[in-house]
């Protein structure tokens, strides 16, 4: 059964004096209002949060209607998993109106990780290797070497994200920086400077989906979810907190999720008018461009130098500034991407609107330890 988005809602991303749950509630109510529906219409809900509280406990404020509400957690891909569950509920016929909700409120600074939760012994953390930013740098350093890419591309991608963030009302970081300022920032893990990472932040996001048939009755601006595909890693991928890697490095979960999403949707990368890609740091966007099929590995420089990824370019990417400008409230982040594409397809993206009435959009979220959800949306 075809599934469409009929309502979206967001609490801005950043730092705020209210709880994560409150941000989730604000987003949920905004999404319902956008859809012209009430909580009582919702027949299935799925939501997730890492540090903001139990998603399913939102029912005590939204209304105790008895609705089945599944709490999900899949690291940075939590929002994608919530949307997948809501979509499946519609596709199966179990519900005619479903909601995906995500919210979070993280401490400042990088996420602390406990070795035992990853099946690792204490020596790994005691030796100083249980550090996520190290992993990003190690994967990127190898990638730049393998495909002979100039590390200046990293600063150019960040400059683009911050430019887009500067014109996005819900974004956290609203100040653009020059390529030189970004490249000469304090080095954190070579080749990544302090400006090249996203930070944990706070925010909320919610999406209401229905069958496409019901959507057409509700609104004339619904957006069809042509594909939502979720994949976990296979043997041989390069993931965070890996004391060892296989002899042959294989394609990550993103490649398989993106391929499946394009196949389900019956379109290819060249049909996409606007995309949101996981950009936990500069290297993630660089690598995901190729992993999703938007260019060959090593050909990213051409896209960047031609301005293809800019709003107004051939393939605008991370039009709201991505995780770099919005930070990452883990539960909400994947839904933010889908909301941004929805607004772009509906022509509601304000100053950052992609010109030319975009009709087809793509999102990709990637989380530890090696999972990805990709979507294709169409007007």
């Amino acid at each position: 059964m075809s599934v469409s988005i009929v309502g979206v809602g967001m609490h801005p991303f950043g730092r705020f004096p209210i709880s994560g749950r409150q941000m989730g509630l604000i987003a949920a109510r905004e999404a319902l209002a956008d859809a012209g529906l009430t909580w009582g219409d919702v027949q299935f809900a799925a939501g997730g949060s890492r540090d903001g509280g139990h998603a399913d406990a939102l029912v005590s404020e939204l209304g105790l209607t008895g609705v089945p509400f599944v709490s999900v957690y899949n690291g940075c891909a939590t929002g994608g998993s919530a949307l997948l569950a809501a979509t499946h509920a519609i596709e199966s016929g179990a519900a005619d109106v479903a909601m995906a909700i995500g919210f979070d409120k993280h401490e400042r600074g990088s996420f602390a990780s406990n070795p035992a939760e990853y099946g690792l012994q204490p020596w790994y953390a005691e030796a100083g290797m249980m550090v996520t930013t190290q992993f990003f740098a190690l994967k990127l350093q190898r990638y730049l070497h393998q495909y002979d890419l100039d590390q200046r591309l990293l600063a150019e991608l960040i400059a683009k994200s911050l430019r887009n963030g500067s014109i996005t009302p819900h974004a956290w970081r609203r100040n653009a920086l020059s390529v030189d300022e970004i490249a000469s920032g304090t080095m954190v893990n070579d080749p990544l400077t302090k400006f090249m990472f996203c930070s944990p932040s706070e925010g909320g996001a919610a999406i209401v989906v229905t069958s496409t048939k019901r959507a057409k009755q509700l609104t004339d601006r619904s957006v069809e979810l042509r594909a939502v595909e979720f994949r976990t890693r296979r043997f041989g991928t390069f993931e965070v907190f890996s004391p060892w890697l296989a002899e042959q490095i294989t394609d990550g979960a993103t490649v398989h999720a993106a391929t499946a999403a394009f196949q389900s949707a019956g379109v290819g990368p060249s049909d996409i008018d606007v995309a949101q890609l996981q950009d936990t740091e500069a290297g993630a966007e660089l690598m995901h461009l190729a992993e999703c099929g938007f260019c060959e590995h090593g050909a990213q420089g051409e896209l960047i130098e031609r301005g293809d990824l800019e709003i107004g370019g051939a393939l605008p990417v991370n039009t709201d500034g991505g995780c770099i400008a919005n930070g990452e409230p883990i539960g909400a982040s994947g839904l933010r991407q889908v909301i941004e594409c929805t607004l772009q397809l509906q022509g509601r993206a304000g100053d950052r609107q992609v010109p030319g009435e975009p009709r087809t959009a793509f999102t990709q979220v990637y989380g530890a330890p090696g999972l990805s959800t990709c979507t294709v949306l169409a007007r």
């Binding site: 602390a112 005691e126 030796a127 060892w244 002899e247």
Partner: protein
């Protein structure tokens, strides 16, 4: 600080030379580190396998920002290099010592080391005596 028993599981000395101790799958060509009982690729049982003591730098970076507890290295924090070393059947993640922290190159020959020089580390790699392979 890790227990001695835990460190013992990671390294062994054969003919006076220190090696990492990993495991080898009995059914498919997979070698892992540290030891594990079942294979990540096929789920079959694995047996202990001594790993090569030399390899090449496959990737590297520098940890320039202080690492949170339970990091057990020098206080105040001193930046250090970390990388993956290609040992042939697998790559292992390891601290790197013996050059300035940003003085490493991919493809450079390195060898396993362990001992009192860095008492908080069960092992690390350093440039091979005699330079590139």
């Amino acid at each position: 600080m890790s227990s001695d028993a835990q460190v013992e599981q990671l390294v062994t000395v054969v003919d006076g030379r220190t090696h990492l101790v990993g495991s080898r799958c009995e059914s498919c060509p997979t070698t892992s580190f540290p030891r594990q009982t079942s294979c990540s690729r096929c789920g079959s049982s694995m047996v202990e396998q001594t790993l090569p003591a030399t390899g090449t730098v496959w990737s590297w970076t520098v940890q320039r920002i202080a690492v949170k507890a339970p990091y057990a290295g020098p206080q105040p924090f001193e930046p250090f290099a970390v990388g993956y070393v290609d040992l042939g059947p697998l790559k292992v993640e390891t601290p790197l010592f013996g050059h300035p922290v940003d003085g490493w190159s991919i493809g450079e020959a390195v060898e396993l080391a362990a001992g009192d020089e860095h008492p908080y580390l069960p092992f690390w790699f350093r440039p091979t005596a005699g330079g590139h392979q």
